[in-house]
């Protein structure tokens, strides 16, 4: 099973033009701008992505990074186990490479 990579550097990340998001069995192509989190981009696109605190604490936006790379400034809601499994917090996730991102909320 392939999965993406989450880093914790919080470094400024280059933005991709769009990323793939899966929610409720539906795939979306979500536009994203530089410095924007995956969650923010999804909400701006009108997608009802799960979230509550948006500060990396509650874990409501936990999702599976199927491909691509992101950085996260705060991973309080993610255990090492979950990070190793490829889970990310969409509210903290910033694209960090040109590799296409696929974020899956259907856990």
């Amino acid at each position: 099973m392939s999965q993406g990579k989450a880093k914790h550097t919080g470094a400024e990340a280059p933005a991709g033009a769009s990323f793939r998001l899966t929610l409720d069995g539906t795939d979306h192509s979500v536009p994203i701008t530089a410095g924007e989190t995956l969650l923010h981009a999804a909400l701006a696109a009108g997608i009802d992505a799960p979230h509550t605190c948006t500060q990396g604490r509650c874990g409501s936006c936990m999702s599976w990074l199927r491909s691509g790379e992101v950085t996260m400034a705060n991973t309080k809601a993610l255990s090492k186990r979950k990070i190793d499994r490829g889970y990310v917090l969409a509210c903290q996730a910033l694209p960090s490479s040109a590799e296409p991102i696929w974020l899956d909320f259907d856990l």
Binding site: P50, T52, C58, G59, S60, M62, A77, K80, R81, L107
Partner: protein, 262 residues
């Protein structure tokens, strides 16, 4: 006006581990007697919330923590005297520290007769790869407030919406309340800011909603994760389930006690 009935009373001797149901219990200004007296702290944890829980090790919710003298930790021995002779404001005396000794049984059936025995932490460190220590205080170790309430109707409603069984124990409340209002499964949300009398003595103010985290995704009997429960709660119910309370007047609570709206 009576608005509900205490359906069950719970406490959690060790934060994050399995809880125990009680027939009655003393509730102090610092919460239910014997609730979350111990916690496991992780050296690599967040300084503000260093606790090792099911968020870090899912099967931690299956660990069974038991007081050696559970009966002694239901009511302070001089409780009646503080009511009859010292009213209105004398706090009763808690049992000595020895009474709070807790034994642990792991999901694999390994038992430790005292959580403070170094063998427990040493084995848990080997299992998790974390540097851990036991933290204890008779005041209780809470994330937010000392007392939590929720109706079993919340679990039933969420289960209905998700098409699966949701065990009320996922929500790890102290008091589960059957509300007389059967129309609103989330009735307790309307009580924020209100004062309730529970049983003969206890008075609490409902101070805020309980914003939920990953802990509710863990099945209390299997530790199996259901992330869609937290996702659903966030999308359909603002991420909140149950309420927190502050204690205004301490006292005994019994299963079946009436809940009165003051």
């Amino acid at each position: 006006m009576q608005i509900g009935t205490i359906e069950s009373i719970w406490r959690y001797p060790v934060k994050g581990m399995r809880g125990e149901e009680l027939p009655h219990v003393y509730t102090a200004y610092t919460g239910v007697m014997g609730d979350r007296i111990y916690a496991v702290a992780a050296a690599d944890g967040d300084p503000g919330h260093p606790w090792h829980t099911g968020r870090d090790q899912e099967e931690f919710v299956l660990y069974k923590a038991s007081y050696g003298c559970s009966e002694d930790l239901l009511l302070p021995p001089n409780l009646d005297a503080t009511y009859s002779e010292w009213e209105p404001g004398i706090d009763p005396i808690y049992p000595d520290a020895d009474a709070f000794k807790v034994s642990i049984e792991t999901p694999e059936g390994v038992t430790y007769d005292d959580i403070e025995n170094p063998a427990f932490i040493e084995d848990l460190e080997k299992l998790t790869g974390r540097s851990l220590r036991i933290h204890t205080t008779q005041r209780g170790i809470f994330d937010a407030r000392p007392v939590s309430l929720i109706s079993p109707a919340v679990a039933a409603k969420l289960g209905e919406e998700l098409g699966m069984y949701i065990d009320k124990r996922r929500f790890r409340a102290n008091f589960y309340v059957d509300w007389d209002n059967q129309d609103d499964p989330f009735y307790e949300m309307s009580l924020v800011g209100k004062t309730l009398k529970i049983g003969e003595w206890l008075e609490v103010m409902i101070v805020e909603r309980d914003p939920r985290c990953e802990m509710i995704t863990l099945d209390p009997d299997t530790a199996e994760e259901t992330p869609k429960l937290l996702q659903h709660l966030a999308r359909k119910h603002s991420g909140d389930a149950g309420v927190f309370a502050a204690v205004l007047t301490r006292g005994r609570v019994n299963k079946g006690d009436p809940v009165i709206l003051n």
